[in-house]
Symmetry: C2
Subunit: 444 residues, 2 copies
């Protein structure tokens, strides 16, 4: 074997998807795509890598260490593998200029890349579903994005007992932090600290909070923010006193509550003003979906970013959306035993064709397979050379075939035997009727 | 706008896929996936980037200039975006060792990357369908891969008049080149030159051929290789004299011919001994699919590589397969007007819900959309505030909806009006029966 052995392994933080793992990934992708389409979103995609400057121009050069960046041999510009889709989306929307339809509903689900240390729930290469609504200013836009996220998660078997949508608002958080004594120049750092709170030791958190100028009692109140989220059935305007925020600041969330209720998803939601989202571009509502016990990272995160598209040279148009990665989601689904059997997720053969006759019968298998496939059916055969029917049927069972098509003595009269595994029935079928027979009895 | 303007464009040689372009891409992917599944292949995928050494260990350091390679900031190993899938496949198969089932049929269709100058039919980022059969030694394996490629192309509307499978064999080509006077040390270069022949000026070709030690008349015969391909209905053994090759060398192709015939695809095929394929790892049959007029690059290319998996530390097992990129294929499909209307490729809404009543009726739209989507239907509404039915129906037509669901005065009695655009019919339907009505009349 040439080369050192590490070259023959997948790079750290990336994944090989063998068929059973791919079936799980496709199962998740299918739920994402179906929810998107049913909610009226159109699929888009952009390049895997962008000009590095697309990312640094908004986030500053500090982001470079989190990126896989590179330069083509002999080239003059730097590129980076996309760490998130929003800059590409903003660029694509901006490029349409005045031709951008309003509203526009786009989704995508490509791979993303982060050059960070891999850990539970965070890999260097991951699939992410991105939903964006462009041009709906009000909370109905935000409610729509939350509803589509929940539709996919429900299709995957999660219900309101398993997941929580934790909703916050940048303006409310800013007001709360101001009340705690955070000065405007420390606001961004304080929001960042709040975002990281669950991943930092208590002592380190207190130290960092003190460095932001917070007094001891303020640090305590800071740490307690969102410790007891409030069910979304509670009208946010009634929280104004409790959180020492004027009722007006809650008006947008009150309207959001109404929009969530109309979509039948209010019981998944709660108000949690510890949610800020790390990215700088959010301007209003922000939210995350968490597994109910809170034991994993966020399943999804999103919010409103009304200035982003304009900042990429596009029209001044509002936008909101979210991203949902596959890594945490798969952990949650596996933990709840919602992905127990990869085989059940794999495409089922309509026909598993076997021969238990002589040479003539054996030679009929390949042309019959070609005929069935030509008719759009999923047809397989065995690699075994036995004519022991029991062994052959076991082979058919291994790939979860709907039917076995058995070529035997009946073939001389133009007939085959079809065994329907689901119905437990067996019938002799004229070869000329086989495609119709399989289509009628097999495909639900 | 911050940054220079190039950052806000897709990198050269990559593509933005807006919804209509994405619909075309998904149409092609769907044909690839369906053909793969129907032929009994299981889907896999590997990382977007691999250790650089995975590519250089087999192809030598010369390949680096064709790769997008990079090193993580602070990291110690070099990576490269995958230029082709076969090394990943070989690595994944090798990793299973003795656990690799034989035969194994795998397919994948991820993005690939080449740092070459973009030109017609060749981009820096492209989607490629990869089919691999592992563990079938005989030409039935090769025939199977050709049949699955043709099944996808036929599903996309191409027939035997539009595409040709040009089949060759490395051993036959070597023998022909030896007969022309190519010495063993020049064999690889001569095959490479033959592969590039159509993309090189005649004079340059002759010069390079002379440098390989070919005499003038040999250069002429070299240039004429494959100039007149032979229909695959001709038994290759009868070509032995014409091509001055012993009949034994044609035995494998004769058997391949039989296997292609059994699969009903012989009329797509021809013998063309100018086909060599550029990659070094092929060991036997090689083939390409070309648009019939020969005006574009190859649509697909493949062959047999029996030593590859072992060379990556895996078991000694035979393999054959092909790759089919999306760039040339889309050019061919567009040229033949097989993709004329992207709208027809986009998912059709089952219901386009509109209100022509008052506030109560308007407020019923969102909950009804939620209900329809909850039942798995694709439901949209208008962004217009008009209650002019003509304008609303025009909106429904723009997204090619199957039905308009019209909320009006009938809603007070629990009814809606459903207009079926395909049937040109209209009916008053109780709200409670709406989902069943749409499912029955809309989804084929």
């Amino acid at each position: 074997m040439a080369g050192s052995s590490h070259a023959f392994q997948a790079p750290r933080g990336t994944r090989d998807f063998h068929p059973d793992e791919m079936a799980v990934r496709l199962h998740i992708e299918q739920a994402w795509r179906t929810a998107s389409i049913n909610h009226g979103f159109d699929e888009i995609e952009g390049p895997t890598f962008e000009h590095l400057e697309l990312y640094t121009s908004k986030s500053g050069p500090g982001i470079v260490s989190e990126l896989f960046s590179f330069r083509r041999s002999g080239g003059e510009t730097d590129f980076a593998l996309r760490p998130e889709f929003t800059p590409t989306l903003a660029r694509m929307a901006a490029a349409l200029g005045r031709g951008l339809p309003v509203p526009t509903r786009w989704f995508s689900m490509p791979m993303h890349y982060r050059a960070e240390r891999p850990q539970r729930g965070r890999l260097r290469e991951f699939r992410q579903w991105n939903i964006d609504v462009i041009g709906i200013d009000g909370p109905d836009g935000d409610a729509e994005t939350i509803a589509v996220a929940l539709a996919a998660l429900q299709a995957l078997g999660l219900d309101a007992s398993g997941i929580r949508v934790k909703i916050s608002h940048r303006a409310v958080v800013s007001r709360l932090l101001t009340d705690l004594g955070v000065s405007p120049e420390h606001m961004a750092d304080a929001q960042d600290l709040l975002d990281k709170r669950d991943r930092i030791e208590t002592a380190a958190f207190a130290e960092k909070a003190a460095a932001l100028g917070l007094a001891d009692d303020a640090i305590e109140r800071f740490a307690a923010l969102g410790a007891e989220p409030v069910a979304a059935s509670t009208d946010p305007s009634t929280l104004a006193d409790q959180f020492d925020v004027p009722a007006e600041a809650m008006a947008e969330l009150t309207e959001l509550r109404h929009e969530l209720e109309r979509r039948g998803v209010l019981d998944f939601c709660e108000w949690d003003f510890s949610i800020v989202r790390g990215l700088a571009y959010y301007t209003g509502t922000v939210w995350e979906i968490h597994e109910a016990s809170g034991s994993e990272r966020a399943i999804a995160g999103g919010g409103r970013y009304d200035t982003l598209i304009e900042s990429y040279g596009g029209p001044s148009v509002s936008a909101c959306g979210f991203g949902m990665g596959d890594v945490v989601l798969e952990l949650v689904l596996r933990d709840r035993e919602l992905i127990s059997d990869a085989m059940a997720l794999m495409p089922r053969p309509d026909a598993f064709v076997v021969s238990i006759g002589g040479d003539d019968t054996n030679h009929a298998v390949v042309p019959l397979l070609a005929k069935l496939r030509g008719a759009g059916l999923h047809a397989r055969t065995t690699s075994k050379t036995t004519s022991n029917l029991g062994k052959l049927l076991k082979d058919a069972g291994k790939c979860n075939a709907r039917h076995a098509v058995i070529l035997g003595d009946e073939l001389a009269d133009g007939n085959v035997v079809v065994k329907d595994f689901d119905a437990g029935e067996q019938a002799t079928v004229p070869l000329d009727d086989l495609i119709e027979h399989l289509a009628d009895s097999g495909r639900q």
